[in-house]
């Protein structure tokens, strides 16, 4: 009988601690489910043996439009031809851990590998730390066959110059790594796709380094001045946009394709989820194709 009281109390205490609804604060909840998502899925993609032609979907700026995102993911799953998904940031409105979990769980349920970059809304409150815990490093890169994906944090306004955004140390190291791969084994990497939330000359971007940013990313294979371009068939001369490299971004809640620097590097900007639009890119050996899906 002497043991009954402690047992009941222990059971009660453990129930209080383990039940997720006993929340300490909306900005500090127990995060269950998948963590270090980007680390996990980049590793899966790199080891999947996937080579061009492959397709990936680019969705961005969920910001609470989970119903619309769910519909988009249903379409992606039903098509059956898409190999993986990239989320362009702003999964959340307020950077709440629960918002991150709602978005992540929906992507998990889709069953395809996915990665995500950080958006400005994702940084609010302690969202920056939540992103790190749930997705891993904010700057990362991975290769799918000969295609190099560089995923960058570009929401400089959120950090008020206290962090290097974009992080040129990371980009420089990544460029050197790719150059070394290609030096050891020519044409290991032929394409580069740069993924970011806000693009140069947005209010979020550190526009003091908009030109240096272009200088850096044009050192990647597929984005350099001597890389292949889409040939204008009418006069047969080499001009137009880069054939094996491009950038994708979200943030501005509108579709737009722009050659920001006039050097043939195209920025594909996708609208937010609430506008019920997403992009599908098909990457082939000698180029790529893009498709806008409106549902």
């Amino acid at each position: 009988m002497k043991l009954v009281k402690p047992i009941i109390l222990t059971a009660l205490a453990s129930a209080l601690v383990s039940c997720d609804n006993f929340e300490y604060h909306p900005y500090s909840v127990h995060i269950d489910g998948e963590t270090a998502v980007n680390v996990k899925y980049t590793s899966i993609l790199e080891n999947s043996g996937l080579t061009p032609p492959f397709k990936f979907a680019f969705i961005t700026d969920t910001q609470g439009a989970l119903n619309d995102m769910s519909d988009a993911l249903d379409i992606i799953r039903q098509r059956g031809d898409i190999d993986f998904i990239i989320h362009g940031g702003d999964q959340t409105d307020f950077g709440l851990p629960k918002e991150f979990m709602w978005c992540r769980d929906m992507l998990e349920d889709c069953g395809l590998p996915y990665v995500a970059v950080i958006g400005n809304h994702d940084c609010l409150g302690n969202g920056n730390d939540t992103f790190d815990y749930m997705y891993g490093p904010q700057n990362f890169s991975f290769n799918v066959g000969p295609v190099h994906f560089v995923c960058l944090n570009t929401v400089a306004l959120e950090y008020d110059y206290s962090h290097p955004v974009p992080d040129f140390e990371f980009i420089q190291g990544d460029i050197e790594h790719i150059a070394m791969l290609n030096h050891n084994n020519p044409a290991t990497i032929t394409h580069t796709i740069v993924v970011m939330h806000s693009r140069p000359y947005d209010e979020q971007f550190n526009n003091n380094v908009a030109r240096p940013f272009n200088h850096y990313i044009t050192q990647y294979p597929g984005l350099g001045s001597d890389d292949g371009r889409i040939v204008d068939e009418s006069d047969g001369i080499l001009n137009g946009s880069m054939a094996r490299g491009f950038c994708i971004n979200g943030h501005n809640h509108a579709d737009d394709i722009a050659d920001i620097y006039g050097n043939g590097v195209l920025y594909y900007q996708c609208a937010n989820m609430a506008k019920r639009t997403f992009f599908v890119f098909t990457v082939t050996d000698d180029g790529y194709d893009y498709e806008k899906v409106v549902y």
Partner: protein, 238 residues
């Protein structure tokens, strides 16, 4: 000058001084009859006493006002979206003490990459009914509370920092509003066993916060159970 001459001089001076002092008017004496003077003095005393009384009344009223600020409730809460543990004083008022105001300090311990946070909560509760089971036990079947919580850390702001264009986000990451519903069981301590307090109440509260409600309205895919926050606590009534 001889001796007689000197004596005469001193004498004459003394006479002048004495005669001047004698010619000064006599000190005024109360010429009123005794009975009238008593009446006047009584009226004066009464006025004086009234003044003192009013002063004392004002003092008492002032003391009463300050006494109302002495908290008679003490709360300890676990979870509930305002901290792992929150503690603080409270006040009850109204005809049957159905209104309560609580001021709570909470702590949210370090977790993942988050630092330890301190929070402040101002809570107003409405507890309209009390059902007495016996002398000692009673149930308060409903409590409705509105809380304003502030998370005290520099990464959260009340109004947007200057670096943003005007109205960029349009919300405060620091201030959260919680609406909660709960129930209480109250134990009344028998008078001869009281040390400091007279009642201990155990309560639970089901609440949600402003941002969760907004996201749920925005999207039906948000699971209902995810926007529900539970908390339990004790209230010690003095």
């Amino acid at each position: 000058m001889d001796m007689t001459m000197r004596k005469w001089c001193i004498k004459s001076v003394a006479v002048v001084v004495l005669s001047i002092s004698a010619s000064l008017p006599a000190v005024a004496e109360n010429t009123l009859p005794d009975s009238i003077s008593t009446v006047v003095r009584d009226a004066e005393i009464e006025r004086y006493q009234q003044k003192i009384q009013k002063y004392e009344e004002r003092l008492a009223a002032r003391e009463l006002r300050w006494k109302r600020l002495i908290p008679n409730l003490f709360t300890l809460q676990y979870a509930g979206g305002i901290g792992m543990f929150s503690i603080g004083p409270g006040w009850d008022y109204g005809r049957s003490q159905q209104w309560e105001t609580h001021l709570l300090v909470g702590i949210v311990p370090h977790r993942y990459d988050y630092p330890t946070y301190w929070t402040l909560t101002l809570r107003d509760s409405y507890v309209p009914w009390r059902i007495r089971c016996n002398d000692q036990w009673s149930i308060r079947p409903l409590s409705v509370s509105l809380s304003v919580n502030s998370i005290l850390h520099s990464e959260f702001w009340t109004s947007e920092p200057e670096r943003y264009p005007d109205g960029y986000y349009g919300f405060s990451s620091r201030i959260r509003f919680h609406l909660g519903f709960g129930q209480r069981v109250t134990f009344t301590i028998p008078e001869h066993k009281r040390i400091l307090g007279k009642e201990i109440s155990l309560y639970y509260e089901i609440s949600t916060c402003d941002l969760y409600v907004r996201q749920k309205i925005l999207s039906s895919k948000v699971p209902l159970k995810d926007i529900i926050i539970l908390g339990v606590g004790l209230i010690y009534t003095i």
